[in-house]
C-alpha cells in the first residue's frame, strides 16, 4: 500500500465535552488510486483527510506513506513531508488575490525540486486564456482549476481534495472532477477526495464510507465510471 492508516483515533474537547471524531480508523490506498471518503457532515472524513495531510495529528494510531511513518514527525519534518508529498485542494480556493493564475500555480511549483511545466499544466487545466488574470477576474470553476493546478504542479504523490466541488454548481463541479481524474491519469497522483455527494463516489477506484468516526465500508469500486459520465 502506498498509504496505510492503522487504528487512527482522534477526539476533540475535554472533560464532559469530548467528541470522538475518529474511532480506530484503518485503511489503505494504492499509488495512483482515486479514493473517495464519503459520509455525512460530522462523520470524520475531513478530520481523516487533515491527519493524512499532516495538518492535524491523531491521538493514536499509525500512518505510513510510501513506507515512512509520519506519526512521530516534528513540525519541521511534517512541513517537509507536506512539501514533498502532498497537494491540497479545498472547497474555498484560497488563491492569493494579487497573484495571477500563472503565479498562483508557480507558488506550488516553487515547493518542488522537479515541478511540472507550468505552461503545460495551464493548458491541461484549460486556463491558457486566463494565465495572466487575477483570481478576482475568474469564475468559481476557473479559480478551483487554478487551485488544483497549484496543488498538482509540484507533482505530489498524494492529492488531497476537501469537498472540491462544494462551492460550485453541478456543471462546473463536473468540470472539476474531470480535471481531477485527468490529473490522476496524467500524472499518476494518488487522489484522496472528501465529499458527501454519493454520485461523485462513482468515479473512485476505492470508496470509503464513514459515519460517526468509524469506517462503515471500504471497498474497491468495481463499477467505476469516468467523471465525464457522472450525473451530479
Amino acid at each position: 500500500m502506498y498509504l496505510e492508516l492503522e487504528d487512527i483515533r482522534k477526539s476533540y474537547g475535554s472533560g464532559d465535552f469530548v467528541t470522538q471524531a475518529l474511532c480506530g480508523v484503518s485503511m489503505g490506498v494504492e499509488k495512483g488510486e482515486i479514493c473517495v471518503l464519503l459520509g455525512p457532515s460530522g462523520s470524520g472524513k475531513s478530520t481523516l483527510l487533515n491527519i493524512i495531510g499532516g495538518i492535524d495529528s491523531a491521538d493514536s494510531g499509525r500512518i505510513t506513506i510510501d513506507g515512512r511513518s509520519i506519526g512521530q514527525m516534528n513540525e519541521k519534518q511534517l512541513s517537509d513531508y507536506r512539501r514533498k508529498n502532498l497537494g491540497y485542494v479545498f472547497q474555498s480556493y484560497n488563491l492569493i488575490p494579487n497573484l495571477t493564475v500563472r503565479e498562483n500555480i508557480e507558488v506550488g511549483a516553487y515547493l518542488s525540486a522537479s515541478p511540472l511545466d507550468t505552461g503545460d499544466l495551464i493548458r491541461v487545466l484549460g486556463l491558457e486564456d486566463h494565465a495572466h488574470k487575477l483570481p478576482s477576474q475568474l469564475s468559481g470553476g476557473q479559480q478551483q482549476r487554478c487551485a488544483i493546478g497549484r496543488a498538482i504542479v509540484k507533482n505530489p504523490g498524494i492529492l488531497l481534495c476537501d469537498e472540491p466541488t462544494g462551492a460550485l454548481d453541478s456543471a462546473t463541479g463536473m468540470e472539476i472532477l474531470r480535471l481531477i481524474e485527468k490529473v490522476n491519469r496524467t500524472y499518476g497522483s494518488c487522489v484522496i477526495m472528501v465529499t458527501h455527494n454519493e454520485e461523485i463516489a462513482a468515479m473512485a477506484d476505492r470508496i470509503v464510507r464513514l459515519r460517526d468516526g468509524r469506517i462503515r465500508s471500504d471497498r474497491q469500486n468495481e463499477n467505476r465510471i469516468p467523471a465525464a459520465s457522472l450525473q451530479l
Partner: protein, 796 residues
Amino acid sequence: MKNPLRKRYLREIRQDAGKYIALFLFLTLTIGFCSGMDVASGSMISAYRESFTKYHVEDGHFLLEKEADAEILTAVKDQGAQVYPLFYQDFDQENGNTIRVYQNRSQVNLPCLMEGRLPEKNDEIVLDRLYAENNGLQEGDLCQLGDRPFTIVGTVALSDYSTMFRNNSDMMFNASVFSIALVTREAFASLDQSGLKYCYAWTYDDPPADNQESLDRSEDLMEAVLAAILGMSLEEAQARSEQVGTFMTLFEMLSGSGQGGLEHSLSQALEHFVGSDSNELKDFVPRPSNRAIMFTGDDLVTDNVFTNFFLYLLIVILAFVYAVTTRNTIEQEASVIGTLRASGYTIRELLVHYMTAPLLVSAAAAVAGNLLGYTLLKEVVVGLYYHSYSLPTYRTIWNGSAFVTTTVVPFIIILVVNALVIRRALSRTPLEFLRHDLSRQKRRGALPLPNWSFLSRFRARVLLQNIPAYLIMFIGVLLAGIMMVYGLMFSPLLAHFKEILVESRFADYQYILKDQAESDFAGAEKFAMLSLENDNEEVSVYGIREDSAYLPDLDFGARGEKVYISSAYADKYDLAPGSYIRLHEKYGDKAYTLEVGDVMYYEATLCVFLSLDHYVETFDLEEDYYNGYLSNEEIPDLDERDIATIITPEDLTLLADQLQDSMGTFFPVMSVFAVILFVLMIYLLTKLIIDRSAQSISMMKILGYSPEEINRLYNRATGIVALFSLLVSLPVSYFTLSLVLRVLLMRFNGWLTLYIAPWIYGVCLGLGLVCCLVVERIEMRRIHRIPMAMALKNVE
C-alpha cells in the same frame, strides 16, 4: 526557482499605498531629522574640536587688575606655557546690549571669518556672527563704541566664545545682548582705556592629555601666578595654600557672577599680605571650566542623546504599527496561509514574506531619510545650532556612528519587533489558519455589555475586537499628545516664568558694592551676599536684616540657626525644612553645612537667606559688615566707582530669554511632528479597522445602513479612543515634562518653574478633534468604496 510570492511585494505596497506612504513619509522624516541632527552635530562637534587646534584656542585665561609685570609672565612661562595678552573693553550700546572689544588676534583664539573681512582700517569692526544676525546688523552698518562709530566689515566666530557667556559664572548666555568684536590694534589703542580689562590667555607647550590633566596643571599655574602677584616664591605660596584658597574663592566671586562684590575684603586681604599697590587676580579660568568654550560641545553631545532617545521611541511605535497592520493582513489571509502551510510552505518562508514589504518600505525610508538628513534637514539642524551658538564654519563629515544610530538601529528595531509579532501570528497550525481560528484565548462567548444603546454596544464590540490595535494607537497618541504639549507649552512657560520672576523679586535693584559705601537714600537697605557652591553650581548666600522691609516674611528669630532657601533651590534639589545643605568655597577648603528652616517663594535664583548677624558669624566677618543695598529705586548717592554691579529684574530673566533664544525654534518643530504622528496613528488604525471589517461593512450596506451610519459605528469608536488617549496624555505630559525639565535644567545654573498654560490643553484637544475629523472624512471615502458584492461573493 525564486519564490513567486516575491511578486506580491510591490503589489501589496501599491494596494496598501495609503498605509505605506504614510509610514514611509513619517519614517523618512523621523530618520531624516535625526540623521540630520546626528550628522550636523557630529560635523559641528568635529569642527568644534578641531577648532581648538585650528584656531589655537587657549588652555585657559586669567584676568588681572593691572597689567602683568615681567614676574607674572615669567611665572606662567615657567609652568611650560606661553602667555598672550588678550585685553578687552566692554562697551554698552544704546539698546542696553554690550559689546566686548578685542584687537585683531594673531596668536591665540584666532577668529574664524564667517562673512566679509577682518578690520583693516581704524574705523572698521567685525562682530560675532550670531549677535549680528540676532540684531539685524549687516556689513556697512555702524556700531558705536563709546562716542566713536565703527563700520561693520564682517562677522566672525571666536572659538573662545562659541557660547556667549559674558562671565564664566553667569546663569545663562545670550547672544542677542552680548557680542565680541575685533578692531585693529591702532583702533583698540585709541579707545577710551578707562574700562580696559587685563586678560591673559595661556597655552601649554606640551598640551594636556585630557581635561583632568588640564585642570591639575592649571592649579599649579594659578599658584604660580598668585605667588608672583604676592611676591613670594611658589613654595611659599603653596605653604600658604589655605590663604590662597580663601583668596581664590573671593576672586571667583568678584570676577564672575557680578553677584560677589567682595572686592573690598579682597583688597584688604591682599593689602594684608603684600601692600596696597600689588596687582590682583580677578579671574582664573582653565579651559575645561570655561563655559564659553565648553558648553557648546557638551550641548551638542547631550542633544544627540535626547534625539536618539526620541527616535527610538518613535521607531518602536512605528514598528508596532507595522506589525499590527501586518498581523491584520495575516488574519485576512488566513485561508491562503493555511493552504500554503498545508502545501509545505514553512513558517520561516512566510515570515520572510510578510516581513519583506514593511522592511522594504523601511529601507527605502532609511535611504530617503539619510539623503534628506544629509542635505535639507541637516541644513535645518545646522540652522538651529547656528542660531544658538557662535560656531566656526564646518564641513559635513560622513558619520558612521550616526548612520548606525539613526538608520541601522531603527531598522533592526523594526525588524526585530516585526519578526516577533509576525512570528507569533504565524505560529498557528495550518488547520487553525484554514478554520480562521486565530484567537489566542479560547472563545468564552461574547463579553456581556450593559444595557447601552445599540450604537454604543456596537462600538464597544468593535473596540473589544481590536484591543491590540487600539493599544498601539493609545501609546502612539499618548506620545503624540505629550509632544504636542511640549511643542506648544514652551513659549508660554517662559513668559510665565518671567512674570513670576518679576512678581517674586524682593527689590527692583540689588546694588553689589566694591567698597563699603554709605547711602542716605531713604529706600536703601543694607545686605550682604557671597557666592558659594554646592556640588553642582553656584548658590547666592544673602545676609538680610531681621527687620528687612524688602523681605518681611523672613522670620529669622523663629528659625534660630536655621536658614531660608529660595523655592527654586528647594524645587531643584528636592529640599525641605529639616534638610541640610552643604556649601563650599570654589577654590578654598572651607565648607559650610546649613540646616533649612523654611522655604521662601523666590524663583529667580538658587539662594540661601541668613540674618545679617548669622551671616557675619558664619563667615567670620566684621560685626557691621555689608556689601550691598536693596532698593526699589535707583540709589542716587552712590559713587559709580563703588558699585560692582546692579542686579535688575532683567538680569533675573536671562535664563528664560536664553532658553527662548536657543530652543525656541526646536519646539515648534516638535509640534509639527506631534500633529503628523497623531494623524498617522489615527489614520493607520482607523484604516486597519475598516479593512478588517470590510466584510461586515459590506453586509451592513446590504442591510440598508448608510455610509454615514457605518462611519458612526466603526470610525467613531476610533475617534473616541484617540481623543481619550489624548486626554490621558495631558496629565502624563505634565508629569514627564517635569522629569525632562529637571534633567534639562540640571545642566544649567538656576531653575525654571514648570507651567503649562491651561489653553494649551484646549488647543491640543482641539487639534486632536480636527485631526480625527479629517481622518474620518478620508475613511468615509473608503467606506463608500466597499462594494456590497463583497459580502455576497465571498464563499467562506
